[in-house]
Amino acid sequence: MAEIKYIGGYPEHFRKYIDIVSRTRMKRKDYTPPAMNKEEQQEALKNHPDYAPGGKRKISIGQNKGDIAPIEVADLLEAYPVITPDEIDLKKADYSVDLMVIGGGLAGTTACIWANKKGIDKNKILLVNKLRHGDANSIMAEGGTQVADRKEDSLRAHYLDIMGGGHFANKPDVVRALVSDAPLIMEWLHELGVIFDREENGDFAEKFAGGLSRKRLHYCRDYTGLEEFRVIRDDFRNRQISYIEHSPVIELLTDGEKVTGAVLYNLETGEYSIVEAKTTIMATGGFGRLHIRGFPTTNHYGATADGIILSYRVGAKLRDTDTVQYHPTGAAYPVQIVGYLLTEKLRSAGAQPVNKDGEAFVYPLEPRDVEASAIIRECYVENKSITTPTGLRGVWLDTPMIEVKNGEGYIKKNFPGMNRLYERNNIDMAKDPVLIFPTLHYQNGGVETDPWGHTNIDGLWVAGEIMGGVHGKNRLMGNSTLDTMVFGRRTGISTAEYIKSGKKQGKLTLEHLPKYIKMIKEAGIKTNRKAPILLPEYRGKAALARMIDIF
């Protein structure tokens, strides 16, 4: 086969399609397709992976028996533990702490800091990380953080936007907590020295995002999560709170009722260790690396649903497990970056989704599930898509429109991360559009909690993406970085109060495992599956086929 010739990072035969986008740009400049009404949204949603037939099944064991979940998630809930109680010595704990936080992203790190601020000694807090402290989806959040702080805005407007975006399935008391604490979090971030983009008069720059009725999105170029996280981690380090890396939790411990600790596994040496803790906050994030329905993902290498599985085994109740968020604009070309997140803020700044014929076919800022559905429909029902050399379909995101609307140089200044991503692939996104297709992004549901992140299990709190209820069936942009910090802070405060109320350390057992295994067997589930899986499997098939295990 002849080598493909590339012009400006694209195969030569793409050029005629790119020309169509360029030619129609000025015509589209002052035209935005109207937002869909409720009926049109429902029609579009038929193409969404959540609503298209297949892909889901009922959970057949445990407290959420009968609930619907993606097959990949249900399979892991119905899997055997990776350890058996008789191979673990629980007589002596290696770490004895007041608070164990599992998962060092924005939520977990924030929780540690606030527990410390509320009087829990730095040596009595332990942050446990599967990979490095900071290997989390948090740092990949590009878009921003929603805070209703302008006089044109209100907590009421923020609340309504969230409920509508979540199809009114959200848990009202946690949404209330989210909108009410948002300004406090913003003030905390400013005090810590997070640098948000500003207007010339010094006010925070604030933008619209999908499903928002007010400009409310605060941001740090297109590195919002990275800037927020590295500052918060810097404060964590200055407080000298203890942390362990490359040691995921492989099972929680209980005294029969409440959570009392965990078994850690050193990924490098294979050795286990035991933590006893009066309180535990699970902040392990989501499940993008399960590749639900075979979709590429924006998620971090470690996003494998570990926390959900382990919490479920000790009896924590889940909710809204039936929906998954697909980000409307993942990269579809070139193959090295397929599934990468292209921030929604590109659309806030004027970039339009455009089909093969150069038509703007959807209002650019529909709620994410609707926007993603419209793009899938354009590719697979209307067949107005571009097919990449590797067989993926996509439509254009007309990024040069951003510069038409905001002036030359705007992309490089405001989207340095995006620009760098494409520059590395020889594509100039200020001159040429980029190819997009929805990508697996976020776990909408999760473990149910009260407004302080406490679960139905004594001693167990959750914060961040693992939590369910805040976003109902669909999250809006800018509310996930917010929820990590709001509920990170709340769980930190809540666990500190619990500890200070004089609670004693409970005994350490793995009693729940035989019960769970019995449940799997009694339900007639025939499987060898084990969970948590800890990391996805991407090794080459040829290499895997010839691997032997001799030491």
């Binding site: 209100s154 907590l155 406090l184 007010r214 380090r237 340095p416 080459g540």
Partner: protein
């Protein structure tokens, strides 16, 4: 006859190489790379990261976000026929034929402990916590090593001048991969210096957010409680109506 795939199955099929690892039979173009001195034949359109996986390695270190945001996968390499030692992110760099590579899983880089609220917003803060910045000889090796193409030497020089704003601006896109610190002949840990500088600028150099403070006062006065009491008690139908009646603020 082959079963016709539905839309979701077609999407999954087209994404297979990304979601389950590359299958040899789908590959047309190959290159040879040397991973820590050992030769492997790998598909030509992979990144260094995915090529290492293709070869059979499973990452525990040196792999993080896989999208150029986290700095976990810093890698050094030489290209056939080129004397230059290159630094880059494995997840952002395509393999090339004859590449000799090794990953740097960790950077020994002790940091200072400080409380920015107790420090003065003056240049001295850098010399107090990271006195080695004064050793910068302006060789620009750090800048050449930066996979984000940041002007690292310039921001260190800005720190030495006490120009917090310029340092914050120039270092802002830093992902703290550690390559600058590993290459620096003056043994400066640039990204720690930058973290301190940015926080100082964010706290002291930016305008106080007046409308945010006002909003917090309003919250503390209980201004929104009635609204939220009402909203949280509404039925789904009533909420739907309110939601449909929302008026979107003008651009």
């Amino acid at each position: 006859m082959k079963k016709e795939l539905n839309i979701m199955e077609r999407i999954a099929e087209a994404s297979k190489a990304i979601t389950t690892g590359v299958d040899k039979k789908d590959v047309e173009h190959w290159v040879e790379v040397h991973i820590m001195g050992k030769a492997y034949k790998v598909p030509a359109d992979l990144t260094i990261l995915t090529a290492i996986e293709y070869a059979g390695y499973r990452f525990v270190r040196s792999c993080g976000c896989r999208q150029g945001h986290c700095g976990a996968c810093a890698t050094i390499y030489r290209i056939k026929g080129d004397y230059k030692l290159q630094c880059n992110l494995a997840c952002q760099t395509r393999v090339e034929d004859g590449m000799e590579l090794v990953q740097i899983p960790f950077t020994p880089a002790p940091r200072a402990f400080y409380d920015i609220l107790k420090e003065d917003y003056v240049v001295n803060v850098f010399f107090k916590f990271y006195p080695e910045v004064a050793r910068c000889v302006s060789c620009n090796t750090c800048t050449k090593a930066c996979p984000q193409d940041l002007e690292v030497m310039d921001y260190i020089q800005a720190a030495i001048r006490g120009d917090f704003e310029s340092m914050a601006d120039k270092s802002f896109d830093c992902i703290q991969c550690g390559m600058c610190a590993i290459r620096c002949p003056a043994e400066i840990i640039q990204y720690h210096v930058a973290q301190l500088g940015r926080r100082m600028y964010g706290h002291y150099g930016e305008f106080e957010p007046e409308h945010l403070k006002k909003r917090i006062e309003e919250i503390n006065e209980g201004k929104f409680e009635k609204d939220l009491d009402e909203l949280t008690s509404l039925s789904r139908k009533e909420l739907e109506k309110l939601y449909a009646e929302r008026i979107r603020e003008k651009e």
